[in-house]
Symmetry: C2
Amino acid sequence: MHVNLADKRVLITGGAGLIGSAIAMRLVGMKADVTVVDALLPQHGGNRRNLQDVADHIKMIVADLRDPAGVDGLVDGVDVVFNLAGQSSHLDSMTDPLADLDINSRAQVGILEALRRASPLAKVIFASTRQVYGRPRYLPVDEAHPVHPVDVNGINKLSGEWFHRLYHEVYGLQTSVLRLTNTYGPGMRIVDARQTFLGVWILHLLRGEPFEIWGGAQLRDFNYVEDVADAFLAAAVSDKADGRVFNLGSREVVSLRQVGEMLVDLNGGGRFEIRDFPEERRRIDIGDCHCDFAAIETTLGWQPRMSLRNGLQRTLEYYRHNMGHYA
Amino acid sequence: MHVNLADKRVLITGGAGLIGSAIAMRLVGMKADVTVVDALLPQHGGNRRNLQDVADHIKMIVADLRDPAGVDGLVDGVDVVFNLAGQSSHLDSMTDPLADLDINSRAQVGILEALRRASPLAKVIFASTRQVYGRPRYLPVDEAHPVHPVDVNGINKLSGEWFHRLYHEVYGLQTSVLRLTNTYGPGMRIVDARQTFLGVWILHLLRGEPFEIWGGAQLRDFNYVEDVADAFLAAAVSDKADGRVFNLGSREVVSLRQVGEMLVDLNGGGRFEIRDFPEERRRIDIGDCHCDFAAIETTLGWQPRMSLRNGLQRTLEYYRHNMGHYA
């Protein structure tokens, strides 16, 4: 799909994060008018380094969208919002459920209320998660699969989804929801597993330390960040996306152990240890999970292009040269 | 089902409201140790008059559960929580979505967090709503019907449900959820339609003024408050309720016009006017709705006992003599 957002006013919430920054770079390439807002919270995915190549071509606002003052004026006259600001750690959502709620649910109401008043024709693409499905009843998980969140994060992301859908149905905002699976690539948080376990695996691997795999037999699918950016851009330019919820996903389904082995192989060395789940993680683990993306493929023509092996190779290469900015 | 909660420490949130006060009176009758907490917010259903007969036998706390200080210490050592505090106006949830979220979703996390720390064995019965289903795809609506909230209230009540279910699944709290249909009876708010349209109909009828019915052909089911109190008590004493979600409902399905006619007949006079939906209500109207309660009937032995005609008669009678305390 050819995407052209030249001269469009685009806001990216969470725009210094893994996906937001990838979208920002693509938008700058097509000469869109880009504003990034990011709270740059130390536990989250935002990192100024992710935007260094486009820093002179975007407007960067450091603000927390939980604060109404952070939202005020932000969305006036905006054409497109890539709404990625969120708390993504499942474990943190259990230890601080109110913080997760305030970011993933409450702040979304603030953004949508501001949009319906100031920019009621805006396209809004909301980053949700396949975590809303909980433990899959069948695989691959499609959008008709019942939702059953197994952690606070899943509940609040589900609320965030519903608010976006409601503001489409009641007020006509052109919202759509993408349920992301494991997204990885250059720009992800690696200092811990708060954003993705792949990050901390790569950190340890590049430091020559063993990394831990909990379980190991679980099946997962992965999307490279550029593929995910493609999906957001495709949703932003299609009327067919409005009011819809789409899974992302991949047909390349692998066990965590296989991913570990692939990383060690690509790195030309290293090792991992298979561990039992810690108790607090076991309770919110979802077992095998991979997602059916036929709906977005049929509707928007999206499919992932990057193989896991090539994507991991690029990611390793990036962190070999940029480690100091992330850990 | 025989319910005995003698000497049990019971907390009723929203306990000055229609259902909470009915439960309180039943509990006092069985010599339970009852604490009622209610914010007595002017737009909500709480009314001290509802508790006048048991005021000397309960502990009454006026506190807003949105305030963490309101929750502090409240649940320590409690055996049962009837968790009814909520914002029930669909229209208000659209004009002040954050207030609805803070009460129906955010405050629930505060209550559940306090419970899992202080009283992890407590039974907790959460009052939800059939509003989470949205516009029914089939009738009667059973618990397997997909949820699709059509207003902010439905989204936040759904979150409140999920939090209760999660705290059962992860922490073992003995929670259950009742999805209420239209509940009415002595003690309901009548000054406006924020709690139930029946209230304001009865207000106008008893004042000799015409009341307005919007639409009129919509089918609905109704539960008398004592029947609903029965359901809460049944859930509180059965292990089979833990982790479950149950509809309430009635097999007596009537159109709003029929309810209006029944009220006029019972009152021995009066009239109503059929009106088109105001625009802001039309957007969040759900059309016909009535609920299948086979699950709770089979599992807990609950069924509604009061006919609509008898229930409305008692309700009219109550407000004839107590109008001054409610309007």
